[in-house]
Symmetry: C2
C-alpha cells in the first residue's frame, strides 16, 4: 500500500469523538483542516451543510481548493479518532488464537518464548512485524506500544518498519536477564548486557526519528520475575535521565503474583517491587492489573502510573477480570491493549467490546445490589473512551492525539457502515463491483448513538475505510 | 445472489469435522460425491492425492466428469460442516448491538417488543428477514431455529424466504397471550387465538414444503411468563399430535426466575412449569439454562430435552454464565445459539468463541482446584462440536447433518484462511483484484490444529467462501 505524502488536507462530514469519559460528541456538517505537519489547524463545526463548512474553513485559512486534498464522508460514514493499543507484543503476532488451556506461566514457556526467540532471524522478523503493523493499522490502530523481543537488530527493524509504514509506535526491546526464570536460549546474558542492548535500540530510534515524531523507544522490563534487581535499577536510571516511557506487566495471574512474592520477599506487594526499583513512575504503563489490592491501587495512583486493560487476553488465558470502574474510582488512568497473543485479536474495537463484556461478567458476581451491578458495566461511550483518549493519556500523548481539537495531530479513521437496501440486500451486493461493507447493517431508522453501538458490537476492519497518522494516509480499502 | 440448482457435485480436498465431542477429524486428499438429492453418496478418504481420490470416486459411482460440478480446495482451504444456530430471533435482527445496560425483562419492553410488533408491516418484515437470512448464511449458518413474531403473515413470509433463499430452518410463530405480562399492543388475544395462529403457520409450511425438506414449523411458546396455562397445554397437544419441535426460553436471568416463581407458585421449579404443561419433551429446545438447579438438570435429562447455549447473549444482557461442562456431565445435549438480538452477533463462530471465553470466566471463579478449573474450560474442538453436531442433536437432525458421512445431507461451508506472503503482506494485497481473506493470517508453519484455533479466534464471514445446503450452493463470495 503506498503511503501518501503529507499535503494540506480538508475533511468534510460527521466527526465523532469522546467529549468526556461517558459522552460522545457528534459533529455534523463539519470541516477540519490539516496542515503539512499533520496537525488540525482549523475546525468549523455544525454548519447547515458540509459545503458551508468547507467554504468557511477555506476562507478562514486562505487555502485554495486546488492546493488541498479533500475527503468527504459518504452516506453512513464518519471520522473517528484512531485507536490506541497500549499493550501489544508484535513478536507474538503469528500465535494469535493459539493458547489451548494454558495460563500465563506455562503459556510463556510453551508458546511464547520459542516464537519470540526465533525472530532473531531477521527475515522472519520482517515478515512477522510487517504483517502485524499492516493488520493493526487496518483495524484503525494509529498508535501502538509494542514489545518486540530480546534481540536488538530485530527490535530496531520493528522501529524501521513502523516509521516506513507510518504507524505511530513505541518500540520496546524486551529486557529479561534473570537466570532461573528466563530460559537459557532466550535471555539477556547479564544486567549489563541487558542495559547495553536497551541503549542500542534507543540510539537507533534517536537516529531514525530524532525528536520521536512517529517512533519512540520505550523501556521494557518484561515483568518482575524475568528481571534482575540490577537490570531494573539500571532501567530506572535510564528512565530518569531520558524521560522515556516504561512498560511492563503487573498482577495478571495468581500464579505469577505468588511467584513475585517468592522471588521478592522483601517487597510489600507486586506493585512495590517496581516502586522499590524506581520503575513506578508517571510514565510507566502497567499491563493487566487484574488482581491489584487496595494498597497497590493507592500506590499506583500516587505515582500516577498508567494501566493498560487487556480484557481479551485476560479472558483467553483465564487470568481474571480487571475492575475498570474500581480502578477509575481509585483515580487511575486506563487505556486498552490487545495484548496479542495472550489476546487473540489484533483489534482495539474488539478489545473495547471485550471490555464491556468483562465488565458484565464482573457485574454478574454482584448479587443483591442492582445499582452497584449497573455501575460496574461499561457503556459503549466508556469503552470507546478507553480505546482513544484513555490510551492517549496512558502513553502521555493526550495533548497530541485521541480527539479532534485544533492543535492535535490528525490520527484518525474514516468509518463506514453497511446500508441495507429496501429489499434486504446490501447496496450493490450482486454486482461485480460490490464492496464488502462488513457486518454492521444499518436500516436507516437508527439514531447516531445506535449506529455507534452497532459498530462497537459488530464492526471490524471492513468498516475502517481509511486511516491517517499525522495527516498521512497510511491505509485505505475500497 | 443466484441459487444454483442441485446437480451432481464432487468436492475435493481437505474435509474437517468433529469425530467426537473432543476430537476433530482431518481428512486430506479426500473426495466427496453429492447426489441430486443433496446427499453425500460416496466418500473416498486420505488418498495420496486429490486426483487419485477423484478418479476413484468417479469410477466407483460410474459418474462422468462432464456431468458433475467439481469444487476443489485451494491453498489453505477446507470443507467444514455448516453451522447450526439453535436459537435466533430473526425479527430482532436490526437491534443487534443495541441493548445499553438493560437486562432481560426491561430489554424486552424497551427494545424488543416494539421492534417485533412493527414487523406486522410485511414490507419491513421482508427487508429484515431477508437481511437476517443472507447475513447468517454468509456466516456459514446452514440451519437456524428461528423465532419470528406473533404475526402470522410475517411469520409465513419468513418461512417463504428461508425456502427461496435456501437456508434450512425451523420457523416459529411466537405464542404469547398472557395479559399483564405481554403488552396490549403485542400479544395473542386469547389462548384460542394463539393456537389458531400457530396452526395457520403450520398449515402454511405444510403447503410450501410438504415433508419439511428444508423448512419446518416449530412450536414457540415465548417463555412461561408470556403464556397462559391453556396456551401451553394446547401447544403440548399439537406437539403430541404432530411430533413437532418446541422451542422456548428457560432460566436466563434471576429476575425472570423469580417472576416464574411468583406466577406459577404451584410448580416446583421453572423447568417443572414446562413439564407440568407437557412441553418438556425430547423434541424441546430450551434456550439459555443459565441458572438451572441440580433437580432441574436431572428432570431435563430424564425428559431428554435439549439446551441451546447462548453465551454472547448471556454476557451482553448480564444474564450469567451457563455451565456447559456441568450440563454435559448431567447428560444434557447442547447446541449453540446466537440469540440475536440479546446476542449481538449473527455468527455461530463468534458464539463458539464466546462459549470458550464464558467457560474461562466460570473457571476463574474456581480458586484452589486447578484440575477442576481446567476441566471447566471448553477446548477449540468442543466449541466447534457445539456449533455443528451438538446443534444437530438439539434439533433432532443428527442423522441428517452435522458431519461428513455417507447418507448425510451436504450442509457445508468452504473455509479459506489468509496466507501471509514472504514480505509480510497478504497474497495480492496491492492489486486491484485483491480478495480480502479476513483476519486469519497463516504463516505456513502452523499445524492443522493451530490453523483451526486461529480460525476459531479470528475467523469471520470472509473465511466462509461458499455455503451449501442440501447440496445447493446458497452463498458464495469472491
Amino acid at each position: 500500500m503506498p503511503i501518501s505524502h503529507p499535503k494540506r488536507l480538508i475533511l468534510l462530514g460527521t466527526f465523532i469523538h469522546c467529549k468526556s469519559r461517558s459522552e460522545l460528541e457528534y459533529l455534523h456538517h463539519t470541516a477540519a483542516a490539516i496542515n503539512e505537519q499533520g496537525r488540525i489547524c482549523a475546525l468549523v463545526k455544525d454548519r447547515q451543510s458540509v459545503g458551508v463548512a468547507r467554504d468557511e474553513i477555506l476562507g478562514h485559512l486562505g487555502w485554495r481548493v486546488d492546493e488541498v486534498d479533500v475527503v468527504e464522508c459518504g452516506e453512513g460514514e464518519f471520522f473517528f479518532p484512531g485507536f490506541i493499543d497500549t499493550h501489544v507484543h508484535a513478536s507474538q503476532y503469528p500465535n494469535v488464537g493459539i493458547f489451548g488451556k494454558s495460563t500465563l506461566l506455562d503459556w510463556l514457556d510453551t508458546y511464547t518464548f520459542p516464537l519470540e526467540s526465533s525472530l532473531a532471524d531477521l527475515a522472519k522478523a520482517k515478515r512477522v512485524y510487517t504483517a502485524c503493523i499492516r493488520r493493526t493499522l487496518a483495524h484503525g490502530t494509529t498508535t501502538a506500544a509494542y514489545y518486540a523481543t530480546v534481540n536488538v537488530p530485530a527490535t530496531n527493524l520493528l522501529a524501521d518498519l513502523c516509521l516506513s509504514i507510518g504507524q505511530r509506535a513505541f518500540v520496546g526491546r524486551v529486557c529479561m536477564d534473570r537466570q532461573g526464570f528466563c530460559p537459557d536460549y532466550y535471555r539477556d546474558e547479564s544486567p549489563e548486557a541487558s542495559l547495553l542492548a536497551t541503549e542500542k535500540t534507543i540510539a537507533h530510534v534517536d537516529e531514525i526519528d530524532p525528536g520521536y515524531q512517529l517512533v519512540s523507544p520505550i523501556l521494557t522490563p518484561r515483568f518482575a520475575p524475568a528481571c534482575s534487581h540490577d537490570a531494573m535499577k539500571g532501567l530506572a536510571k535510564i528512565q530518569k535521565e531520558k524521560g522515556l516511557l516504561v512498560q511492563t506487566h503487573i498482577s495478571e495471574n495468581k500464579g505469577e503474583i505468588q511467584l513475585v512474592k517468592d522471588m521478592f520477599p522483601e517487597a510489600s506487594s507486586y506493585t512495590a517491587v517496581y516502586d522499590d526499583h524506581g520503575l513506578l513512575t508517571a510514565k510507566t504503563v502497567l499491563a493487566h492489573a487484574v488482581h491489584l489490592t487496595e494498597q497497590e491501587a493507592v500506590l499506583i495512583s500516587q505515582r500516577e502510573s498508567k494501566i493498560s486493560h487487556c480484557p481479551g487476553s485476560n479472558s483467553s488465558l483465564t487470568s481474571g477480570e480487571a475492575r475498570v470502574r474500581w480502578m477509575w474510582d481509585k483515580g487511575l488512568d486506563i487505556g486498552l491493549g490487545t495484548d496479542m497473543s495472550g489476546g487473540y485479536s489484533p483489534s482495539i474495537l474488539e478489545a473495547a467490546r471485550q471490555a464491556t463484556l468483562t465488565s458484565r461478567h464482573l457485574a454478574m458476581q454482584i448479587d443483591d445490589d442492582q445499582e452497584h451491578r449497573d455501575e460496574c458495566k461499561l457503556t459503549v461511550e466508556e469503552s470507546l473512551y478507553l480505546a482513544t483518549r484513555g490510551g492517549a493519556v496512558c502513553l502521555g500523548l493526550d495533548d497530541k492525539i485521541g480527539g479532534f481539537e485544533v492543535g492535535k495531530q490528525f490520527d484518525a479513521q474514516l468509518i463506514g457502515l453497511g446500508i441495507v437496501d429496501d429489499d434486504g440486500s446490501r447496496a450493490g451486493e450482486d454486482g461485480i463491483d460490490w464492496i464488502d461493507a462488513g457486518n454492521v447493517d444499518i436500516f436507516g431508522w437508527e439514531t447516531w448513538e445506535e449506529r455507534i453501538a452497532k459498530w462497537l458490537y459488530n464492526g471490524d476492519d471492513r468498516n475502517t475505510k481509511k486511516v491517517w497518522v499525522r495527516g498521512r494516509l497510511v491505509h485505505s480499502r475500497r
